[in-house]
Amino acid sequence: MASKLTQSNKAGWLMAFPGIALIAAFIIVPFFLAFAFSLTNQRLASPNPTEYVGFDNYRDLLGLAIFTLEPERGENGQVLRDDEGAIEYPRLRTFTRNNPDYPQLDGKREWFSWQSGENRTVVLASDVVFMRAVVNTFFFVIFVAPVQAGIALGLALLINQKLRGINVFRTIYFMPVVVSIVVVSLLWKFIYSPGDGLLNNILGWLSFGLFEPRDWLGSTSTALPSIIAMSIWQGVGFHMVIWLAGLQTISPTLYEAAEIEGSNKWQTFRYVTWPGLRNTAVLILIVITMQAFALYAQINVMTRGGPLDSTQVFVFQAVVRGYERQDISGGSAISVILFLIVLAISLIQRYLTREKN
């Protein structure tokens, strides 16, 4: 490839330098700093020198412990119950606060628990709020991403018809993608208003008054689903377009062959369309997942993680620590964890879409 005509170290370096230098300074350096800071107690501004603390930040985020509480017993060994008949247990606090017999529980709080016979098994976490963020994000990846991808595929098939004026619809479906997520979040916050809010009213008309108004963002069971529904509304046009690009790579001769063979619509989809979309499907799931991990503006504008931490997510937690509490090291540790998950997903994508020889 290299010929005299194109060989030029000086010009080559000179032209590539501004771009390379900027990426090095503002993407690569902070990327490695995230790893470095996460092993220290770095703060945004502090009179004390920064110290190396090993994996303390990660332990503070990810620390877990399982502990079994045995019931309080009376003098002759019978299980004590309170007025309502519930078994009485010693207070968890006596084990988690400065108890030298249980150093592994120190500072941890109850995350969830279950009953097994007379005993109660408690799972404790160093950072219960962060654990909620982890669970919420994985809930999103496992259950919501496929649904969202499916809706987008439905829209793509709808738009892929040869109809007059179809471009108008494509333009409309894609429209929310170019609107700022901050604008969308604030707008939907109003639409989701409790009581006499717009969505409650619309659902009321559609059900002829049967629908009970809800406090969409104010209740733990609907807050996260409401934010997800809004995110789908905003982003589905984007995913639709990626599906469309995939649909258009399928050769028309395959459809003609299917028609000659007399296959019905479902069979054509199942045996012609879907196999041709395998790589697109993986790509879409990855794109949706990455967007889910980057979720921030919706949370900050609509719920700030509430109610009762039901809408906590990674980036919001990273910002609360790194910026609001000025704890750069803690925020960096969350960033590193987030990056490692993103990396794992990319590798899975590479594996699933690899060329089969």
Partner: protein, 293 residues
């Protein structure tokens, strides 16, 4: 028989359009509601959510919310800041990234392959994972200004522009496009004695309209919609962009929804108009980010 099958086809066509229109309503109603509400006083705005009036410009219609919103916050300053920050970044990105891509594609130099693969690797780093360390960096970076050496980039325009000029995706888009340009064209100009700079300016860039549009649109959307970064690095009113300016309305005890809708309309309608006038290019550009994998 013929009439029946014709009817059938007509019916099926009607059903298809009905489905398309139904979905279109779902995508349009919130935006329509936003624009209509911005014209109504708060009390009417709230009452109108009871009926279809929510989507119609009826009742006590005026631009009062717009005047009030402009009184409450220096919206003109915010818009100007956003235009300045977005415009400067887009222009610098186009220049810096196309120049680097030009070098990667047409020139041979030592270390090119290694550096290019590092560049591709940066594509999987989401900005969200580097903002926290970048915040600390920004607070301590030096800058040589009019008053000599100063420390710290917080509360400046440069902290909102410079970190976002170069990114792997923009360079990658240019590289992909340049690779498909006929190499003979460049080599012929070289034989004729044109400098690399001349070839970049006079031969390659004039042929690169489509990729320039794609890179510009992507950077425009990213920059105009930035929220988290300016939230962290800008506390001064005079250099705030539009998305952060929303705090003036939402941090109130009683949110003035009419004004909020007016502000949202002001910052959204120009982008929508831009999109609608170039929708084909917009959609193709955004779709190209999905293929970066």
């Amino acid at each position: 028989m013929a009439a029946v099958s014709h009817d059938n086809r007509g019916l099926r066509l009607a059903a298809r359009y009905a489905a398309l229109i139904l979905v279109a309503i779902i995508f349009i109603f919130p935006l329509l509601f936003m624009a209509m509400s911005s014209l109504k006083p708060d009390q009417q705005l709230l009452n109108d959510t009871n009926s279809l009036r929510a989507f119609l410009p009826v009742g006590d219609i005026s631009f009062q919310n717009y005047w009030d919103a402009f009184d409450r916050a220096p919206i003109g300053v915010f818009v100007l800041n956003s235009v300045l920050i977005t415009g400067a970044t887009v222009l610098l990105t186009l220049f810096v990234c196309s120049l680097a891509a030009f070098s990667f594609v047409f020139l041979d130099w030592k270390g090119k392959e290694v550096i290019f693969s590092i560049l591709l690797a940066t594509l999987i780093i989401p900005y969200e994972t580097i903002f926290i360390p970048l915040l600390l960096m920004a607070s301590q970076l030096p800058w040589i200004g009019t008053e000599g050496l100063e420390i710290g980039w917080l509360n400046t325009y440069r902290v909102q522009i410079i970190p976002f000029i170069a990114d792997g995706l923009s360079i990658f888009l240019f590289v992909q496009y340049f690779r498909d340009l006929p190499r003979e064209l460049i080599e012929a100009s070289r034989v004729e004695g044109a400098s690399w700079w001349m070839i970049y300016r006079k031969v390659v860039m004039p042929l690169s309209g489509p990729v320039i549009a794609t890179a510009a649109i992507l950077k425009f959307l990213f920059m105009y919609n930035q929220y988290l970064w300016p939230l962290m690095v800008v506390q001064e009113e005079a250099i705030r962009p539009v998305m952060v300016g929303l705090g003036y309305f939402t941090d109130q005890l009683n949110v003035p929804w009419g004004e909020v809708m007016a502000y949202l309309t002001v910052i959204t309608v120009p982008v929508l108009a831009f999109y609608l006038s170039l929708q084909r290019v917009f959609i193709a550009s955004v779709a190209s980010t999905g293929v970066k994998g």
